[in-house]
Amino acid sequence: MNQSRMKKISMSFGILGVVAVLILHYMVFFWVPTESSMGIVQRIFYIHVPSWWVAFISFGIVALCSGVYLWLGDDRLDAAAVTAAEGGMIFTTIGLLTGPLWGKIAWGAWWTWEPRLTLALLLWFIYLGYFLVRRSALNPEKGKRLAAVVGIIGVLDIPLIHVSVSWLRSLHPEAVVLNPDGPTLDGSMLATLLVGLLAYSLIFVCLFTVRYATELIDRGTQIQDV
């Protein structure tokens, strides 16, 4: 796979992604009906949930590439892992910024210790640890291995965090006005959500391919070797 082909792929995904985001915004603002109990602000849901999706899937990619990197030692896998981590961190940040906006309306508080939000916060810090470990290691090769270890331990811990926090919540059910998992979705709402997932995934793939290519160039690897 050479440079121009990579460029074409990332451009295609980018264009499709931007188109999908435009469609998504149209659907969010003009098409999908307003949810009856929460009103207009509920529409954040269609931005917020897809960004979380991408954040978690990115971390899965980080962990997978890290594991195989440690096993095979191929530097391209490390490049893929750090690229996925960058994208993942961006989308986790979006999720953490939009989450409280949603929470203020749904629960009347900027922050609640709701499992997904808590997990997103901890995930953000696991990503942070991943980057800090890479950057602060005196030996860069060691830094890559340490980051890979952080990625793997992180992915093992995520289900534990989710199970534990959910269990703790179940002990203290809060008086919620609304279903914390979001409104029961009717057809058009589900469609909008799916478009959101698709749009963000396309954007992520575009960002990933561009960033991966530049990462490889930085490392002096030939694109042909991708």
Binding site: L70, T118, L122, L123, F125, I126, L128, G129, L132, V133, S136, A137, L138, N139, K142, R145, L146, A148, V149, V150, I152, I153, G154, L156, D157, L160, I161, V163, S164, V165, W167, L168, L171
Partner: protein, 228 residues
């Protein structure tokens, strides 16, 4: 068994070094008492009964003491490049990991026991009245400390040859400790409230699972953090 003998040899050496210097034990012990003092003044006892939150404070104090004492374990090991000496020997690296987990576990367990008694005195706690209560408490303490130590033994190796030194360790370790904290604190609360064992059993099971996952992951990944 030779493997266990290596594990014990490594642990014994660490404990011997610690007993000779007492640096970590003294610092962690002093810290344990002083943090109890600070907690006392940080709680408005006219609003909150300290006994209600004492189990939480006990575990938070244990984690902070652990961070203090276990953050430097490889920096100490690396003086005189003794770590290279270990890498040059024929022992398997997971045996080295388990040896270090064992010595750190013994050290931190001693401190947590101290914390339990100091906080019991400071906050007027009443310990469980029966054998089952004591057994449950021991099990929670054992699993909680082991969970923490297994992850610290893996990740504090990051602090060696690192521009941030030990300050990076809390960033890495705290997110991973959330499940442990949730279950140890809940179980300890229930034990002090003399709740029936069936309510504590679930916590113990999850803690055991956490310990198992961390130990296996730690032993498998250790060589990547320790080799140069």
């Amino acid at each position: 068994m030779k493997y266990l003998s290596v594990v014990w040899t490594v642990a014994r050496k660490d404990l011997l070094v610690e007993i000779r210097t007492l640096e970590r034990l003294v610092a962690m012990s002093a810290f344990s008492v002083l943090i109890g003092v600070l907690f006392h003044f940080a709680i408005d006892t006219s609003l909150i009964r300290a006994q209600t939150i004492a189990p939480s404070l006990i575990w938070m104090a244990s984690i902070f003491a652990g961070m203090l004492g276990l953050g430097r374990i490889y920096i100490i090991e690396d003086e005189n490049r003794a770590l290279s000496g270990l890498l040059q020997s024929p022992i398997s690296l997971d045996a080295l990991y388990f040896g270090k987990v064992l010595s750190n576990f013994i050290i931190l367990l001693s401190i947590v026991v101290l914390i339990l008694f100091v906080f019991a005195v400071f906050f007027n706690l009443s310990f469980p009245g029966n054998l089952l209560g004591w057994t449950s408490l021991s099990a929670v303490v054992f699993l909680g400390v082991l969970s923490f130590v297994s992850i610290m033994t893996l990740l504090s190796a990051v602090a060696v040859n690192n521009t941030m030194g030990e300050s990076i360790i809390p960033v890495l370790v705290f997110p991973l400790l959330v499940p442990t904290v949730i279950h140890t604190v809940t179980a300890t609360n229930r034990i002090f409230a003399n709740r029936p064992f069936v309510e504590i059993e679930g916590n113990l099971r999850i803690l055991a699972a956490i310990v198992l996952i961390f130990l296996v992951a730690g032993a498998s990944l250790f060589r990547f953090v320790i080799e140069e």
